[in-house]
Amino acid sequence: MAPALLSARGLAKTFGGVVAVADVTFDVPAGEIRAIIGPNGAGKTTIFNLITGIFPLDRGEISFRDHGLNGLSTWQRAQLGIARTFQNLQIFTNMTVLENAMVGRHRQSRAGLLAAAFRTPGSRREEARIREHALACLGVVGLEARRDDPAGSLPFGQQRLLEIARCLATEPTLLLLDEPAAGLNLAETDALGRLILSLRRRGITILLVEHLMDLVMGISDSVLVLNYGQVLAQGSPEAVQNNPAVIEAYLGAEVADA
């Protein structure tokens, strides 16, 4: 097995008296598409928030490319190469589509306040490169034609794509996708599946929280099943689908349908 890109050991998080994540351990090897599934409230999004540092851990350790993440703030983790999308979209509606993607270049650019205030030649060259790269990222998800539109004017499905483009602009090593297919129609979902596979070919490791089992089982290399904040099973999509505990807890109806 390849060395783990992301390693989570004994993660735990409670909110008040509610245990969101009880004791979760897993590794994500570089280059894999790993899905995290489980019933509502199983702790999937909480794990994303723990990996990105939006919530501090109660217990446990997360390391990424052999850096301990505990104690790093969200932006520092992003600087290391972790990007994420949001289940409830977090588009910058006060900016255009292109500007949203350009914010993603923040990690890969350097001009400070003074350089910006006096438009130094270096900052102008950098600005041109930021624009060019952000446009290319919009191209990957097929949004370049809408680049000058207010981001809030995009239909829902395209806002999801814009969040992905914004992440790509950061040139992430690890991309966390939080229910990217929610609210998408069938054609959009198909396109999303192909997009995720193409991102993996670009060398991006993907961690995917998703309810849509056709998508999960179609593109994932392995699946982590959570239930009540604990790991119920993990393995290949086939192994997980045939795991009796998983069928009982979660997949039963869907597998029967399929």
């Binding site: 703030s73 588009i91 993603g104 923040h106 205030a117 600005e127």
Partner: protein, 321 residues
């Protein structure tokens, strides 16, 4: 903006003193320049980064007192005092911002309000430095490279030039990765963080920048009036700056000069008219009018004067054509 619009605007700005010969009108235009500088800083802080300040008059006052004290008590050249004031004020904002910019919304407003009151009281109480409640008279006119700005016409060009430079710097910041980072904080702080934006640091920087702009305006004010006293740096002054920024339109720095001009000219008009309308409202009449105007603008032009007038202009054009 097209180059012709810029040239046209500069020509109008340059020839105004040729036609405006009444001293009190020129005085109003000087204040428009000074307030434009403060308002531009507030636009960056509030309109772009989404952080509120009800203490901007404190930074304005720190600049004014730095210039007054350094030139009057220590004989420092006025340009050097101005620069020292900017550096000092930005440093104060940075240091003070570290704890308070962790607060959001109303709590941040309260903290900046408290800061403004503390600084105001310091101006009143540190009598040995500041001259106490009656202030410091005898601030010399601003001079640079041996040229002294000793008339209202010269000072009009000084303050207007400084205002244009401030707007230029603000425009450059807005159209940069820093400007986008600031707007991303306003749009979604958590998303900004996940894209690698150090939101705390950017908030501090824009807070210090807005304070530096207020300080510059304060120094110009001290050299124009020749006197600084605490009464100019009260909570009411902070509110006036916020009103100017809101009326001009927070979404764009180009609203700043319009907001500053609208309120400055309006204040003059109210000073002359209101006592005749409400003879018993002495002293407080400006506040009453501010309140009414602010409420009206928020109802009818929530995006500010500039955006509001532009929208109604296009509407009329469309209806007519």
């Amino acid at each position: 903006m097209t180059p012709w619009a810029v040239v046209g605007g500069l020509v109008i700005v340059a020839v105004i003193p040729v036609f405006v010969r009444t001293p009190s009108y020129l005085d109003v235009l000087i204040y428009v320049g000074i307030y434009t500088i403060v308002t531009t800083g507030l636009c960056l802080l509030t309109g772009y980064a989404g952080q509120i300040s009800l203490g901007q008059a404190a930074f304005y006052g720190l600049g004014a007192y730095a210039s007054a004290i350094l030139t009057v008590s220590y004989g420092v050249p006025s340009w050097l005092a101005l620069v020292a004031g900017i550096v000092l004020t930005a440093a104060v904002a940075y240091g003070f911002g570290i704890p308070i910019l962790k607060l959001k919304g109303h709590y941040l407003a309260m903290a900046t309000l408290a800061f403004g009151i503390i600084v105001y009281l310091a101006f009143v109480e540190f009598k040995d430095f500041t001259g106490g409640p009656s202030g410091m008279p005898g601030v010399p006119p601003f001079s640079l490279f041996g040229f002294t700005f000793d008339s209202d016409t010269k000072r009009y060009y000084l303050t207007t030039g400084a205002a244009l430079l401030t707007l230029l710097v603000a425009r450059n910041v807005v159209n940069s990765r820093i400007g986008r980072a600031l707007r991303s904080i306003h749009g979604s702080e958590v998303a900004a963080e996940t894209l690698g934006v150090d939101t705390a640091r950017h908030k501090l920087q824009v807070f210090a920048l807005s304070a530096a702009m207020a300080s510059l305006a304060g120094s110009l004010y001290a050299h124009h009036l020749g006197l600084v006293s605490p009464a100019a740096f009260t909570f009411v002054a902070s509110v006036e700056f916020v009103v100017m920024a809101a009326i001009g339109g927070l979404a764009s720095i180009w609203g700043a000069p319009f907001g500053a001009a609208a309120i400055t000219i309006l204040t003059e008009a109210i000073r002359r008219v209101m006592p005749r309308l409400l003879s018993y409202a002495s002293g407080e009449h400006e506040v009453i009018a501010y309140g009414i105007i602010l409420v009206a603008i928020m109802i009818f032009m929530p995006e500010g004067l500039v955006a509001g007038l532009r929208a109604s202009f296009w509407q009329r054009r469309r209806a007519g054509g």
